[in-house]
Symmetry: C2
Subunit: 340 residues, 2 copies
DNA sequence: AACGTTGTCTTCAACGTTGTAAAGAGTTCG
DNA sequence: CGAACTCTTTACAACGTTGAAGACAACGTT
């Protein structure tokens, strides 16, 4: 039987409300009663029932974090950071996996889950701009990723174009001239892949290198096996590339595996760079050069935006806000070479 | 403003309770009223407030899943599976990271988190047997891992001894004779590492191979860098091993990296086997031979046990239950060799 | 001495839901 | 034809909490 306010109140010989007042730091309680109540709380081991409290207060204390899948280490890491950031604001995180399904993402933005929530943070893959408009009436929404979709949602992002340009510039700086890209998604005009592809093209153009569509390999899904297949394809071209920029680290890991399996030395014959900075890349063989978004900053910004929207002054900032978080380029063996 | 029972009731011109009755499939409702209420529910878009419902029902609808860290892909994957299994039972999962801290693990087993919970599933690292006894009064607890700790908790496990014995037997079957182990934890008499070490010793003994303590490398933490350091140590021995069994895949990945970096061919000069079957190992270079626990079965069993304990007949099965889930050995390039 | 002020504590109602019990409307039966 | 039954719906209270407002005492002010 959990201890309730009633139990504490009886033990301290005060009303339930006085105990509540002590707990909520209501000022007009004598030091004497406060001490007595405090003691009763400790003796009984009372802990508030946040469910009941939030019912009364008209909030829920929950936010949803919806990511494509926890199996992707990038999202696993981000999830851990969001949980930590949310706790600082007395929020409990409900983790949801959308598996890239448009329906599941719609369910998140319209707050259709079983639990009521104060806000939602979504890392979108499949939703379309029109989905976003329907969601206006539900809980505040924070999207992770560039604002290429108009709609009533805050955004947290890194500058994907600049980041991928930085990565490709690094490859060019190494003297590479035939640079491929793995991770284009031809069907999608919006979304991460199009931005990263744009950065790739910008870097090529700035260096006066030709854009060769044969070197841009589309993938269906950002997972290791697709990266491997893409690399296999590139290696059998008549003129294979001397460097590959992969739109995320999972693709890069798969690509490296495929290359090594065929005896292609990395970075000697092909340099590889990725995006996300997952631990797997840092500790793989060879270790992976990559763009490292500041994941802690992303988590903190997302939770903070959600918090602002749910606070009392939410009317004031009706305009959707954008927050840009920093990134760095981490140069490792897959481009810089092995240090023996 | 969320829709409540009251809104639906007004629209259907019935009492709140009748709406509740319809929702809960109370049999004595005429088809006519039921239809009218159903329509009102659809028109208003009513969705029950599970928080209020569970407050009234005296349950919470939450279980805690506490894992060391989501960054470990094994736990990330397991977490996803537990969330799915819990949803089938109308449970919402609260994910907690213990980071191997004894205090945080204690907090889980004594239900000290902010939210009330119906049950807890813990993958323990640091708690000691005595911690478990204190927890008897709180929510039902399911532990992931062998019952080497007595206490009032259910257990879900694979046969760690048999599993590691299987892995080492595989190495022996390849003709390896100096087989090292990475991942011993000398201080801990209980826990995963001691069981896996035991399986290792059994396999050696069964094959008539000597047990050489110099080949058993302790680590502080099951992470990639520790595996790399351990492998570096093994390679500089006067008589280095020709195979290594790592107590988990992260250690194995780190170990392989360290070996490859030094130009040691895998599996030609050293074969490597791991434990956990994380995706990273399957797609790394070379791909990792490993023990694959049936993670879906673990998740399902854990949630199912928790469910039994919270059901109405909880008194009947006062005895702690153990469930053993299957595993398989996945043979890949790190022992079988590269297929070009 | 009557009054307002201030501080301290309590009563009451409500958040959204469901279990209990009772009320109302037929039906069946002795 | 009243009693006993069945079916259907409703009123009420309660889960644990907190905001609003009230009760009461002690105090200072005119």
């Amino acid at each position: 039987m959990p201890v309730t306010l009633k139990d504490v109140a009886e033990r301290a010989s005060v009303s339930i409300k006085t105990v509540s007042n002590v707990i909520n730091d209501y000022p007009f309680v004598t030091a004497e009663t406060r001490a007595r109540v405090q003691r009763a709380i400790e003796e009984t081991g009372y802990r508030p029932n946040v469910g009941a409290r939030n019912l009364r207060r008209g909030r829920t204390g929950f936010i949803i974090l919806a990511v494509p899948e926890l199996e992707n280490p990038y999202f696993a890491e981000l999830t851990g950071l969001v949980i930590t950031a949310a706790r600082r604001r007395e929020w409990t995180v409900l983790v949801e996996q959308t598996l890239g399904s448009r329906e599941l993402e719609q369910a998140v933005i319209t707050s259709m889950g079983p639990q009521r929530i104060d806000a939602a943070i979504l890392s979108p893959l499949a939703i379309e701009p029109e989905d976003l408009l329907q969601a206006s009436s539900s809980a505040p929404l924070v999207l992770l990723g560039e604002r290429d979709i108009a709609g009533p949602a805050d955004h947290v992002m890194i500058d994907n174009v600049a980041a991928s340009r930085t990565a490709v510039e690094h490859l060019i700086g190494l003297g590479r001239r035939r640079i491929a890209l793995i991770g284009d998604e031809p069907g999608k005009a919006t979304g991460t892949s199009s931005l990263r592809t744009a950065g790739y093209r910008q870097a090529l153009a700035a260096a006066g290198l030709p854009y060769d569509p044969a070197l841009v390999v589309p993938v269906k899904h950002y997972e290791r096996s697709r990266g491997a297949a893409a690399m296999a394809h590139l290696l059998q071209l008549p003129e294979p590339p001397d460097a590959v920029f992969c739109c995320n680290d999972l693709l890069a890991v798969g690509a490296m595996h495929a290359a090594l399996k065929r005896g292609v030395a990395i970075p000697d014959r092909i340099a590889v760079a990725g995006f996300d900075d997952i631990a797997e890349g840092a500790h793989g063989y060879p270790s992976l050069t990559t763009i490292a978004p500041d994941k802690a900053a992303i988590a903190e910004a997302a939770v903070s935006l959600a918090h602002q929207r749910t606070g009392p002054g939410r009317a004031t900032s009706a305009e959707p806000q954008d927050v840009q978080t920093p990134f760095t380029l981490k140069i490792r063996e897959s481009t810089a070479g092995l240090s023996r």
